[in-house]
Symmetry: C2
Subunit: 366 residues, 2 copies
């Protein structure tokens, strides 16, 4: 779970769940306690009625937001004991209002930190400007050159091997003015950026990305200081899609970044962590059971999609257990995971219990 | 005077002057108490011998480093009372070891702050990367595009009107391996950056510059956070040379920066302050008297130069009093003004008193 900051932006205390307009507001309500609790209630239903139609094993962990290693280690160490027919990764939510979603693939990630160093000491921009290497100018130039104006990433070979979604896969994807309006509302932006030749859902889930997540250098207090700082840093992450290998991407990226430097500025690229992209598909019995169960509970066919985020543990399930995987969840669009407006729909919660009851039954017959 | 931070880098306490190897180490020793004290001792010499050969008026202020307005206001309000034949701005020092310098011009400055804003809220880079406007990527791109790889500034019309130094002016400028080695040693860098077609002294004093002095945005703590931040900022200053007007440069710069933005990122450029470039020349009686006095005390002809820094009050002296101006000082190269190694040469101090005694005499006969 993420910390509740900034506290002053919460309308009600983050750890006192409060219902407003059919939504429970609380840190962790959507990401991920609402999902978990519905899953427990669905099991409870079956136990009260006798026993569940299939064997169930729940793995609930609290380390995801700090890149915890316990669950992956546990899964890999106990693969034999955990052997199963299907895995449900119950994380995520609806991409459009009222329409459940089923994830066919997750993006991977490479997260890097770049350190640029110029002279051996901070310098006065009056005395040395014009000849002193400026690591801030250079680092900005490097970051600016990593994408062109149309959002294409310039790292050599970056797109090599990318497996695009099939036309069949794309057919069911959310699109149209309503979907775009929903995304704009969540983003609080009137404009989308990036590769105009790809539709929105593809850009958000099936195209690799490159984003600067942070940068810091020199004098950043109020007012002016005429300093040429000796060092600067930036954090840059790339989302990867099926067909891209994190290790290869990191190496190419690090080499390219160094090449983009200017005389007198040394550049060091650090690897802060990575996760490979995951393909789980939605054309297997468990996915079909989930789609049927969603339809019964929400009166809507589930929308297939590729999810833009990463769920690092998914690759551990896939590699250690080898069972078909369903990745889905109950959060409504705009549930505000990680934000001071996090909330979870009570309607989704109740229908979600129903969906899970049907799902368990479907797995027996499927 | 600048604050003494970082304290831990001082070998002796910054406010307990300590002599090591013929140098007095203390905050403010070189910038500017050494100069001031030598000037007082020179006056004392003349008063002990009877009276100074010319009338003297000392204006010593402590606001320069905080862009104080008191001295400029005082000068302009009392121009008539302050009427004088010559002005000595006793700030600065030697450009090369053992060789005094006389400043023919000072660079001006325009100091700006750029704020870039994307979406209305911080976003998750997994869920929105690929379509969310990223103000960090955009601001980096803007900063990177302000100069080309050879150090030429790309702001339209930026160099219009620049008055280059004459061949005669450049003839006496410091150059050669020894001078370059001195500058490299002070900079603690083996490489010079910038316009290779101009010699070092010209780049450091007579060419306009553009430097990013600071930037900040997004997540900058330890580790990784996959955020697309909603805003970022940078501080950018430009040093101007004779022929460039700060107001015109600011307007063109602000417009150009806005044009360089990408869809969805709003850019605001603020003016944090400016000072026009100043030309004082070294071909007037006071400058010649200073050169003669330096030669007598240091056994070296003073090197003419243009100074890369700005002394904002110089323009007030020039405009309010209209008297020929001498800009020079006693600090040795590497005196470390503003740094935790600030020191002032005792040899320069003693010879400096002698120089000033001669200078006062020279003003009488000159």
């Amino acid at each position: 779970m993420q910390p509740p900051d900034p506290l002053e932006e919460w309308e009600s205390p983050p750890f006192e769940p409060t219902v407003r307009g059919g939504l429970v507001y609380a840190r962790g309500a959507a990401d991920n306690k609402g999902n978990h609790f519905a899953a427990l209630k669905a099991a409870e239903h079956w136990f009260r009625a006798g026993r569940p139609p299939v064997n169930l094993r729940y793995l609930i962990e609290g380390e995801e937001e700090i890149s915890g290693v316990s669950l992956p280690r546990y899964i890999r160490a106990n693969a034999e004991r955990l052997a199963t027919d299907y895995v449900l990764v119950w994380d995520g939510g609806f991409a459009s209002d009222g329409v459940p979603s089923l994830t066919s693939a997750l993006r991977g990630i490479v997260y890097t930190e770049i350190h640029a160093t110029g002279a051996g000491t901070d310098l006065h921009s009056g005395g040395f400007g014009g000849a002193a290497p400026n690591p801030l100018n250079t680092l900005a130039r490097i970051l600016g050159e990593l994408k062109d104006r149309d959002g294409h990433i310039t790292v050599p070979g970056f797109y090599d091997g990318v497996i695009p979604p099939t036309e069949e896969e794309k057919a069911g994807w959310p699109r149209g003015p309503e979907y775009e309006a929903t995304v704009k509302k969540i983003m609080q932006s009137d404009v989308f950026e990036g590769e105009a030749e790809y539709e929105l859902a593809e850009r958000l889930g099936a195209r690799p990305t490159l984003d600067v997540n942070g940068f810091l250098g020199g004098f950043t207090e109020e007012g002016s200081k005429t300093v040429i700082a000796r060092q600067a840093m930036a954090k840059v992450s790339m989302r990867l899609v099926p067909g891209q290998d994190p290790a290869r991407i990191f190496d190419t990226f690090a080499e390219y970044v160094s090449e983009l430097s200017t005389p007198g500025v040394k550049v060091e690229v650090r690897d802060l962590g990575s996760a490979p992209p995951v393909v789980c598909g939605i054309d297997h019995p468990a996915a079909r059971a989930a789609a049927d169960a969603f339809e019964k509970a929400f009166n809507k066919r589930a929308q297939p999609r590729r999810m833009g985020g990463s769920i690092p543990v998914a690759i551990d399930f896939q590699e250690a257990l080898g069972a078909p995987m369903v990745i889905s969840g109950l959060g409504q669009p705009g549930s505000g995971a990680h934000s001071p407006h996090e909330c979870f729909s009570l309607d989704h919660f109740h229908r979600g219990i129903e969906m899970l009851v049907h799902f368990m039954d479907g797995l027996r017959t499927g």
